[in-house]
Symmetry: C2
Subunit: 463 residues, 2 copies
């Protein structure tokens, strides 16, 4: 047994230091990797103090570690190799406090998003964070990747909801600022360093998130539009008219909408296939009756102003659910494709229409590309592409990446709006960030983790 | 002439390098200091490239620099001594672009807040940042101090509005991320480092801020309450009922309200002096008529539920202006005092009532303390205190600081909600931050500014 494993067993019980066959059995299949986990060990700490001791030992011995949350990451940020030790946060899943008067929730980093949402709801409050992986994703990972989702337009990214944090540095130092304060300008806001750093600067162990009042009404509608310029104008019109209650504004291009509303998709099309663009929007208000009237009036005004061609509201909570299934279910797209490649790009909102059309046209020039589906959080300027292709060669992957990413450079776009960089996008980081920015990132990484033990090789190469 | 001055003149025109009498004449009186500026030189760059050259020269020669924006800072962050060179941003005041479709505004850091607000308004958009010093404060300073103000409750601190930034590091490296992107998870979000760092980590040269749609309605009201618990319940009630439109929620303690509505204050009291607490709240909506009815209904419901004792709405925009004058004009408080000491503390919202009462009681135990006025952004947990006193001794200042700051430690408060640390609060930083946090701040400062030339001695001492 390696000396480091003995040291780690002295910190954790033996049954919380998994090695060899116990690792491979437990992780016989890792999502998106189709293979068993190949880590040197998997650790199951229960406390921040244990994580501090673990990191102190690993740092002294130059032992690289990878933090495992819900493992729902899409860019390889939690991939672990046989030289690395995984720290699984699954036993640190306690929701420690809900403070209704402060409108905050305090939890260990391993708490599962859906459980946190439920705990908030049980107290008449809403955790606005919401996305498909909520049943598996852990709060620590949500924060470490600055997750986005469907309500960023109104409530912001995860960054905006974090009011308190505890994290452990590579050398075991615990950095704690577990304060329920909305405003705190007492020197550098250190938690910002860890948010979105994908586990490369510290291990997040506890979080305090801000909650909001549960909405008293929800209204959704699907609108059909002819031109992209209308999408931008319609966004501004509804945002102004709904005055603070517009919570989601999602776009589907024609071909995407068609696939998402045709079998095997389960929801039939609420609007016919006669529009170029389909916007699904959501308002979270206080009074269902009044808010419905206002929403309906705004849609009628939008039609009369020719901002949209047509619109259909969801008439019940069941129908709201069906409308959102259309947008959220990616399976009907994936089912159309032999292989897929998925993207998560950010583009200044007025430029999205032309640029996405150009990218799609370019992608169809590649013979192996069979389908391109475009959709996403247009109200936030964040668009997802699902590219279907006939084979899965390295050359083809690169060719497709190049077609999608290269045009972003000159228009000030980003290769990732919400998924992050991990290892899959690392080689394209220069498209979104200048050499000076990347150099400064490396300076930060070296100062906080001089031994390069925290998730090494993710986001940046230090060579 | 010092060698460094010659080098700097070679970068800037001679008339943009002020020295000796030209400094003292131009800055014959520095706000809050009652003395002329005593800097080695004042530089007036026009471009980011010039600032890069200036910093490169200063860094090589170990020359400390202090960036001057509008000099409205309240904690001494821009105080400059005779060994330091001031870089005034006043000539870098260009508003470069308003992009109505992206809802962003791009400017140099020296642009004055009020001018930026106006430019947004001219385009049907709102820059939500708003506070008393807007006619003088520059955007670079607003960002460098993460300014707050009256609408944080809805729109967040400055941090939340910054989408793009250009800054120059101590060695002259330009870090540019001037992107109009709401979501950008492509590796570390470097701009977060500079926001709120009070000029100690880099010089902010350009900013892109997010704008929101101009509201179509504004409603204000003043409410009277008996107990602090009602304030918390009323906040939640109105926030829920107003569903996204509640924009300000400000509290005045009885004695504060009385002074702010008695001569020489110009606005008479909208409610009689029979309540212990007075809340001034503001809603920015879309439809004046409808929103007024909803607001009025909510106030009536709040009275019937005994959340508040009484309330009076502002009936016109003139009256809204008068109501807000009550809350925003600190002069009537200052006029009551021989000398004042002002505070800007953050406290978890449910704890404010008891803690502030305790602090006020403790302050009145000090014989030289004559008046204590409490008020502030209770919806954000950020309270201002104005302490009136009969003299101005160092001992008394310390005694008062101690009485206000010490109780914050055990309840997870902060010595600064929005004003920052500067030099005035540096010696109390340990009350809000742990030794480990302060050590990490020093690590950051040393990695980004190894020569310690950027605003040295502000926020932190590196010894």
């Amino acid at each position: 047994m390696a000396a480091i494993i003995s040291s780690l067993i002295s910190v954790l019980d033996k049954n919380r230091v998994l090695t060899e066959s116990r690792v491979k059995e437990r992780y016989s299949h890792v999502w998106q990797m189709d293979q068993p986990l190949n880590a040197k060990a998997v650790l199951l700490p229960k406390t921040t103090a244990e994580i501090s001791e673990i990191l102190s030992i690993c740092n002294e011995q130059g032992q690289p570690v990878v933090v495992h949350g819900g493992l729902t990451n899409l860019v390889g940020s939690t991939e672990t190799n046989s030289n690395e030790i995984a720290i699984s946060m699954e036993k640190m899943n306690s929701i420690e406090e809900i403070d209704s008067s402060s409108r905050t929730i305090t939890m260990q980093a391993g708490a599962i998003l859906e459980n946190v949402q439920q705990a908030a709801a049980d107290n008449g409050l809403l955790l606005p964070l919401n996305f498909g992986a909520k049943g598996t994703a852990q709060i620590g990972g949500v924060v470490a990747t600055n997750a986005g989702g469907l309500r960023v337009l109104r409530y912001g990214m995860t960054r905006q909801l974090v009011v308190g944090m505890e994290a452990v540095l590579a050398d075991g130092t615990i950095i704690s600022s577990m304060k329920k304060l909305i405003k705190n300008n007492s020197a550098y806001d250190l938690k910002q360093l860890f948010i979105g750093s994908e586990g490369t600067l510290g291990v997040i162990t506890k979080v305090i998130l801000r909650l909001v009042e549960s909405p008293g009404s929800r209204i959704s509608a699907l609108a059909g539009l002819e031109k992209y310029e209308q999408v931008v104008a319609f966004l501004r019109f509804m945002d102004k008219g709904l005055a603070g209650t517009l919570s989601s504004f999602e776009l589907m291009w024609h071909s995407t909408y068609k696939v998402l509303t045709s079998p095997p998709a389960t929801v039939p099309p609420p609007l016919p296939y006669v529009h170029n663009y389909y916007v699904l929007l959501d308002s979270l208000g206080s009074d269902q009756k009044h808010d419905s009237i206002r929403f309906q009036n705004l849609l009628e005004e939008a039609i009369s102003k020719e901002l949209i061609q047509d619109a259909v509201p969801a008439e019940s909570s069941t129908e709201i659910g069906r409308f959102w299934t259309i947008r959220e279910d990616v399976d009907p797209m994936v089912a159309q494709c032999n292989h897929t490649q998925q993207f998560d790009i950010s583009i200044p909102i007025p430029l999205i229409g032309d640029l996405v059309n150009k990218i799609v046209d370019e992608l169809y020039q590649i013979p192996e590309v069979e389908k391109v589906f475009a959709f996403g959080h247009v109200g936030d300027g964040n668009i997802h592409l699902v590219v279907g292709k006939s084979c899965q060669s390295e050359h083809l992957i690169n060719q497709i990446n190049h077609k999608v990413y290269q045009p972003l450079e000159s228009i000030g776009g980003s290769i990732s709006g919400e998924h992050g960089i991990g290892i899959h996008k690392k080689h394209f980081l220069h498209i979104s960030r200048t050499p000076e920015e990347i150099r400064l990132m490396k300076t930060l990484k070296r100062s906080l983790d001089p031994g390069n033990i925290l998730n090494p090789g993710k986001i940046l190469d230090l060579t």
